[in-house]
Amino acid sequence: MAAAVPVRPVTASRARRRHRLRVLAFLSPWLVGFSLFFAYPLAATVYFSFFRYNLFQLTPVGLTNYRFLFKDPYAWRAIKNTLWLVVVMVPLRVLFGLALAQLLTRIKRGGNILRSIFYLPFLIPPVAATVAFVFVVNPGTGPLNGIAAKIGIHLPDWFNDPAWTKPGLTLLALWSIGDVMIILLAALLDVPRSLYEAAAIDGANAWQRFRRITLPTISPVLLFSAVTGVIQTLQYFTQAMVAANASQGNADQAGTTTAPGYPDGASLTFPQTLYNEGFQQFNMGYACVLALVLFVVAMFFTLILLRQFHAFGDEE
């Protein structure tokens, strides 16, 4: 009896250790990936943000890069533009995608054809789509403004007028709505018909059915669209840069004197500023500060949206 007492804790401790090792072994691919591709870049970004670093020479500069952020007119312009896109473009994309998906669920004939037509622009590579879109709405060479003018509508100079550039980019994003639309369409088709039938028997009208049945059922998908939309918009780069270059008639290359964010900084997004500082000016230390700002903002939005997501889970 006396000898058996110390054996049990040792066995239990070994078992626990083995269990932990097994867990770690299973987790190791993820841990390695996380360390290499997420933790290290993040730590390196913080580290280099305190240096002047042009990819060759590393000079400690303390908080200089952080202080410069407060007087960098490009960065603040980019922050404002990116926030505008997050606040306006993301909700509009979700709403427009939902409206199209809703429409497609109602159409009896030709739904498949319309679905393909609405989805097609999303399949076009972003650079080609943007160049084509800028051409179509160009007031001088494009057909859209000309046709509109013939019927008495004077459309704005979308990508050359600072006031209309972001609405123009939003329009471009709505044209490529296929990704959001298809996800929401799948969600709408997933709503059990029996719920609508029961509501109809209870006398619910179309709005009440949408408000009380459709919306709660597809809420997780809507939230997913919003989360991914915000993250995509925080990374918004290609379309803004291509639209700026295409609308001012320049083929951008290193060394050109193109001011970023044409016209008048209206299309300058935060990732574009980051790219410009890091890979055109080679101010890597300052680019790391910008990356950290983007990190904090992205994390803030993601936390808010994921908390909401969990709230949905709790309700269920």
């Binding site: 996380f34 960098d72 100079d157 890979f279 000016q281 101010n283």
Partner: protein, 441 residues
Amino acid sequence: MSPRPWRLITASIITAVAATSCTAGGQSPSGGGPKADAPQTIEVWHGWSAPHEVKAFEDAIAGFHRLHPNITVKLVKGQDDTKILNAIRSGNPPDVVSSFTTNNVGQFCSSGALQDLTPYLKKDEVDLNLFPKAVQDYTQYKGVRCTLPLLADDYALYSNKALMKGNRPPKTISQLTALAKKLTVRNPDGSIKVAGFLPSVTYYEHVPEHIATTAFGATWLNDQGRANFATDPAFAKYLRWEKSLLDWYGYDNVKKFVHSMGQEFEASNPFEKGRVAMAVDGEWRTKFLQEEAPKLRYETTPTPVDDARANTYGGGFITGTVIGIPRGARHAQASWEFVKYLTTDTDALVTFANGLGNVPSTIPALASPNLRLPPQFTTFLNVFKNPNSATIPSTINGGDFVVKFQSFVQDQWEPGKVANLQQGLQGLDKKVDDALRLAGG
């Protein structure tokens, strides 16, 4: 802490880092490599990509193969400065690189990304006076010569003979202004049908450095290497002239015209289409005109200059492609032989210039009877040799000061948003200097 917040935080970090990661690393070692007469292969990165451009490069180095049969040259087309710098930084650079822009020479030289060529030049007693002075200037930074010129570009005035209606091309800014107004044809609604000369910096090559530098003698940086916009009166003079002619056309009319003219390097170019009587452009336009508008009758003359600087007429803005040896190049000796051949051998330069329609970058090549270029090209050869020709200075942060000035003119000055020009230029100076300091300049 319960597992849920951890999950939240982890998921957020993954999302955010995926959106933002900014990585960097250490330095790569310098290289030396085998002697130039040993059998070896060197890798040469360049930016040209069109088939006729690639062929021109291959033709230009045919003589090098004969001279150095032991060195095999592997040409890699379509490379830009970002790829070049990333390759150097990774410690696995090519042996020779060429860059389309002179703007990054300051960065290349100050950071040591490209090797200082001075020891090689001294060893082989290469006379730098082979190159015009402006070219010598734009291929070095603060005494560190890390690049040599590989062909050049310069700018002059193109005039459409039919639209000039018998008038001679202008030599001074006042003549240019008067002629621009005289030759302009408007539509009934006041919009521009044919422009005499568009002063806007948004018109293709009418960017400030191409006009303000030599036409007005603007000095971009002062002796301390700081922005000079508010101090040098040439900038205010240039801007006031530019705005007064722009306002004569009407800002909205110019904007409408510029935004309707399409891409610069297409047959829809308004000079090629006969919608612009006079335009400042690079020498390459002669090649485009040959191919896209062969029937257009035009002539070229040096860019008009400010009346107070009439004695400097004949010069123009110069820039060009540069070539150098990255640090860490594995065959540095053979690379130097290649760079020396391509930048100083008259036949190689002439062959290359003929193939690309560019200006050869040495004085002997400029005088070569083997140059086969259209008669209008002579102006560009003369501009290149002219002592009044100039370029912009190299800085540690490339052409940032040019980009900021362009942005100021395009977005603030031309639309009339600048109430006090002097104050505006002082603010611009501060922005440029802040950015220079950030980069360590």
